[in-house]
């Protein structure tokens, strides 16, 4: 009898365990179906809203009630966090019924966090994300709102600059935008003017040949020509990208991603070989793989290295007088030198929009639209007034105390006639990981340029399976 009771109890425990497993299964399946439902619901909501509000966003803010959840990677007192919070606070004065919650996640965990939230169908109203391939996955899953359409509905299209819009469209491969920019950056080479002078270089190089001559001159003068944050990996792949784009054209990486060319084609290998050649010549100094971007930047500012590849956001480091030993005019900027002007012109810049902001498709309602309207119409001015930075929005304000470096960046952005993207922009995370991890092996000479490009191609083949 007792045996029976024991058996019954144990089997009940087992069955319960199995059942709870099944329960989980059901949730899993529902979650996968949810986006479509959410999309329909949201579409229906939009329709209703449109009917109710008569799509008029030109008048006074109707002060709709809204609990707005924002997921960000910047603390409230840092970088874009300041701007987002300042906009939210000033919007609360317009709409006292607007409440917001500002959640912080480390930028390394952002993708995982968003993936988890997607799985549980609980994306926040507004969240910071990455442009390029990551956002494409969300667009395809119907998780993020069509911001292009929303902007034209609320009549605020003109507040996002055309260059930012076209860049975002290129990055997501769509003809409308699904994200809001939080920066408009150019990338290129920052150089230490004093070290250039010491090596007898009179002007910044414009062609690739001049560039390599200058590197050699610096090296001959006993100066470390380049500093590169290869510990952060992307600092090194950007250099490969520079030569790839300048020798093969702006579409080179896109073509390889789409399969019209292969990553192992000669031109791509040649770019990887170029970087390895520099490493072999000792242009990056010793142990480049252990140097992170911050250290590499401070090496430029303290005169330990002459040239450093980074984006225009580096200007904020240069503006910091305690860190920048080179002084207010000690560092200059030049665009990536040209290999063949007919392939990639001198006024083409490597540009990006930094991290971007997306809106959850399921949670977008009329109140969201009013907030977005306020957001895009004010962000440009707030960013220029408080930080002297351009975020991809039109602005009328002028920074009160704009430093020489900020002005330098604004001038460079003004010169850009066309844009190309960074090395991993068209790559999925597997390819991007392969490209970034193995670039260290390329620099340390433990991988040939052919093997390096092959590893990216292998990752592409693997990702396709």
């Amino acid at each position: 009898m007792r045996k029976k009771i024991l058996a019954t109890l144990l089997s009940t425990a087992m069955v319960l365990g199995v059942l709870s497993g099944c329960a989980g299964t059901t949730t899993g399946t529902t979650a996968s179906e949810a986006p479509a439902e959410a999309k329909e619901e949201a579409a229906a909501d939009t329709a209703t809203d449109a009917a109710a509000s008569t799509s008029d966003f030109s008048g006074e803010d109707p002060q709709l009630e809204k609990e707005f959840h924002i997921l960000s990677i910047w603390a409230e007192d840092n970088d874009n966090g300041v701007l987002i919070n300042s906009i939210c606070k000033s919007y609360q004065e317009v709409n006292p019924n607007f409440k917001y919650e500002y959640e912080l996640v480390s930028s390394d965990d952002l993708r995982q966090k968003v993936a988890t939230l997607v799985a549980s169908n609980d994306l926040p109203d507004m969240f910071v994300y990455e442009s390029g391939k990551p956002i494409v996955d969300l667009i395809e899953a119907g998780q993020v709102a069509d911001i292009g359409a929303m902007l034209s509905e609320i009549g605020s299209t003109d507040y996002v600059t055309p260059s930012a819009t076209s860049l975002l469209e290129t990055l997501s491969g769509t003809d409308t935008i699904y994200d809001l920019p939080l920066g408009l950056n150019v990338e290129g080479f920052w150089y230490n003017k004093a070290l250039f002078e010491e090596a007898g270089i009179e002007k910044a190089p414009e062609t690739w040949d001049e560039f390599e001559e200058d590197l050699q001159k610096l090296s001959d003068a006993g100066i470390q020509p380049l500093s590169c944050g290869a510990a952060d990996k992307w600092g090194a792949t950007r250099l490969i990208n520079a030569y790839t784009v300048r020798s093969l054209g702006a579409d080179a990486m896109k073509n390889a991603a789409e399969g019209t060319t292969s990553y192992t084609d000669e031109g791509y290998v040649k770019a990887a070989a170029k970087i390895q050649e520099w490493a072999n010549k000792g242009y990056f100094g010793e142990g480049v793989n252990t140097v992170d971007m911050n250290t590499a930047g401070s090496m430029l500012m303290t005169g330990k290295a002459a040239i450093f590849y980074n984006g225009s956001w580096f200007a904020s480091n240069l503006n910091d007088t305690t860190a920048n030993a080179a002084g207010e005019d000690g560092i200059g900027f030049f665009n990536i030198p040209v290999v063949d002007p007919s392939v990639s012109a001198a006024d083409a810049y490597s540009m990006n929009c930094g991290n971007i902001l997306c809106l959850s498709q399921a949670k977008t309602d009329e109140a969201t639209k009013w907030f977005v309207k306020y957001f895009v119409e004010h962000l440009g001015d707030v960013a220029m007034e408080t930080q002297g930075s351009i975020k991809g929005y039109t602005y009328s304000a002028q920074a009160s105390d704009m430093s020489g470096y900020t002005q330098l960046v604004l001038d460079e952005i003004g010169k850009a006639q066309s844009a190309f993207t960074w090395y991993e922009a068209t790559m999925g995370s597997e390819l991007s990981d392969a490209a970034q991890n193995n670039v260290q092996m390329l620099l340390s000479g433990e991988m040939t340029p052919e093997d390096y490009m092959q590893s990216i191609q292998d990752a592409a083949d693997m990702a396709a399976n």
Partner: protein
């Protein structure tokens, strides 16, 4: 007591709550992972049934095989280093150190309580080469061995070794304390009898101490194995899996696959493989235990 334990009802009462908890915490996630392993994509993003495709893919995946190799090399060296080094330390405490025993023991144990990230940062500084030489490279260059100065964690050939040294340093204190405790349990008269019979140091260790310490050594090996098989945070803190994939362990690869590449299904297959690896490893270590019963 016997009356209580003879009562099946009482046994059930003792066992079922624990069994239930264990099922929820351990068995259920394993079964869940197993179920997930038949899907491709990530829940919510392209989540589709794919049969045994993930399992087929596993053994042709170069990254997986590379991570497995990294893990096995790491387990082998670090287990020997931690337990072997711990044993040497314990013997030193017992037979060699007369003064400052407590101070030395505290110093040896100290790394165990340090947070892994702090240890990672510390060793990154020790191995540093640019912009300034770290401790190791400074020492080498000071004693005239400049040719040996190199980016220890910046090249694939030395990165895993550098990581292993760090983790042996961290773990050695823990094992030395356990083994020292076991040494103290060995009655002094047994050791004395051995000495009277003419044992030298090596014979004393081989015929008296080692057999008596065997259960504890096996326990230490199991501890060390379970600690090393899940290599993750120390590699993340020191090298972030690099350069290339030179220090990327199975669990790091699983994490990337599941959460960065959004392939939770395939990640689950790797998780199951790690689970099997743990079971197999522990079985193998326990085989040494069985041998003893033949004597």
């Amino acid at each position: 007591m016997k009356r209580v334990l003879g009562n099946k009802g009482a046994v059930t009462l003792f066992v079922v709550p624990a069994l239930f908890l264990y099922s929820i915490i351990v068995v259920l996630p394993v079964l869940w992972s197993f179920y997930y392993s038949f899907f491709s994509g990530s829940p919510g993003l392209k989540w589709e049934f794919s049969g045994i495709n993930n399992y087929i893919k596993l053994f042709s995946d170069k990254n997986f095989l590379n991570s497995l190799l990294v893990n096995l090399k790491y387990i082998g060296i670090v287990m020997i280093g931690q337990v072997g080094g711990g044993l040497l330390m314990a013997l030193m405490f017992k037979f060699w150190l007369k003064k400052f025993k407590n101070v030395v023991r505290t110093i040896v144990f100290f790394p165990v309580v340090l947070p892994t990230v702090a240890v990672g940062q510390l060793f990154a500084k020790i191995y540093e080469i640019q912009p300034n030489y770290g401790l190791l490279n400074s020492l080498l260059s000071a004693i005239g061995l400049s040719s040996l100065v190199q980016p220890w964690i910046g090249q694939a050939s030395t990165a895993l070794g550098a990581l292993e040294v760090m983790d042996i340093w961290t773990g050695i204190g823990f094992h030395s304390i356990i083994l020292y405790g076991a040494l103290l349990d060995i009655p002094d008269d047994v050791i004395e009898a051995g000495r009277i019979d003419g044992c030298n140091g090596w014979n004393l260790f081989k015929y008296i101490l080692a057999p008596l310490l065997r259960p504890m050594i096996i326990t230490c090996l199991v501890f060390s194995f379970s600690g090393t098989v899940k290599l993750f945070e120390s590699a993340l803190a020191l090298t972030n899996g690099g350069p290339g994939n030179a220090t990327r362990s199975l669990s790091m690869y699983m994490y990337s696959v599941a959460f960065t590449y959004n392939k939770v299904g395939y990640g689950s297959v790797i998780a199951i493989f790690i689970f099997l690896l743990c079971i197999t490893g522990s079985r193998i270590i326990n085989l040494f235990d069985k041998k003893e019963s033949y004597y």
